[in-house]
Subunit: 151 residues, 2 copies
DNA sequence: ATCAGTGCAAAACATTTGCAGCATG
DNA sequence: CATGCTGCAAATGTTTTGCACTGAT
């Protein structure tokens, strides 16, 4: 699956998109975008804050939320609420290359990404039958990971 | 789709299940179960509180949360967090008769239920390929309802 | 130099928990 | 009549907002 190449191009794309929409891209905003572009799967606001602090690029909590909100508004990131009460965010790939869904361990919160072309096809077909246009979708599978089910 | 019949049988089933698990079914608990059994789609804790107050059967907020938690624990209701930061709850049909998913209007929170047998089939197939057993799933489609998109 | 962006602290929000009294089985 | 259930109020944890200051363009 697309690694560093598509990730860093996402960071560029995000910066360009912000500039095109009349926003600035410096400071904390660039920092958060860079962190997100390095991730393979969704992160919570708190995890983002901790990761940035660890890497020496501390950003205020409120700024993180504001930045994520703006990125979600521009469809550059996807906000996920998988039933844990904590929102997670991950980069949205406009070309759909890295489009995927999640298997969540209900006990420990562990997240496993997966993708399936037929699933996408069926969702597309179903979407066409609904009363108003569908802009996006999420599929969340629930289970207990090996560590938790062996406990 | 199963209307009053399966709904009222769910209320009975829920009561029996509680009793079998050693819990009592009177008072607030019965009230919440009755309200849930009358719904066609998911309700938030706040909506449940308001609905009960309107119908003259007021139940404390904490009790509502505790009851919903217990019902979810017994797999009698499903807890949904569709990305709004507010959890919603709906009855879980053990036979799968009323199994459905949701189209959510991201602007006003309007919820439209839908179901599709092929979607279920594909999800079942995908589930078999994942690293640990899948106990359940949710599909959420996002869009803007007619009222919101015309605004 | 200007105005958006940022950080801090306090507010708002849904949800959870502690405890005293009440009602179910 | 004993134990679990309920309601209230306070606590918790996440997310949002107000305001003064900083920094990108």
């Amino acid at each position: 699956m697309g690694g560093t190449t598509s990730a860093s191009s996402w960071a560029e794309h995000a910066g360009d998109r912000l500039a095109a929409a009349g926003y600035r891209r410096g400071g904390a905003r660039r920092t958060v975008i860079e962190l997100l572009s390095e991730q393979e799967c969704a992160l919570s606001a708190h995890e983002i804050e901790d990761a940035l602090r660890s890497s020496g690029r501390q950003v205020g909590r409120a700024s993180i939320y504001r930045i994520l909100e703006k990125l979600a508004e521009l469809d550059l990131v996807t906000k996920l609420d998988l039933g844990t009460g904590i929102a997670r965010y991950e980069i949205a790939d406009p070309a759909g290359r890295d489009h995927h869904h999640h298997l969540l361990c209900d006990d420990c919160g562990d997240l496993v990404p997966f993708s399936d072309p037929e699933l996408e096809r069926v969702i597309g077909r179903v979407s066409g039958r609904l009363p108003y246009p569908v802009r996006g979708h999420e599929v969340t599978l629930h289970g207990s990971c090996d560590s938790c089910s062996h406990a």
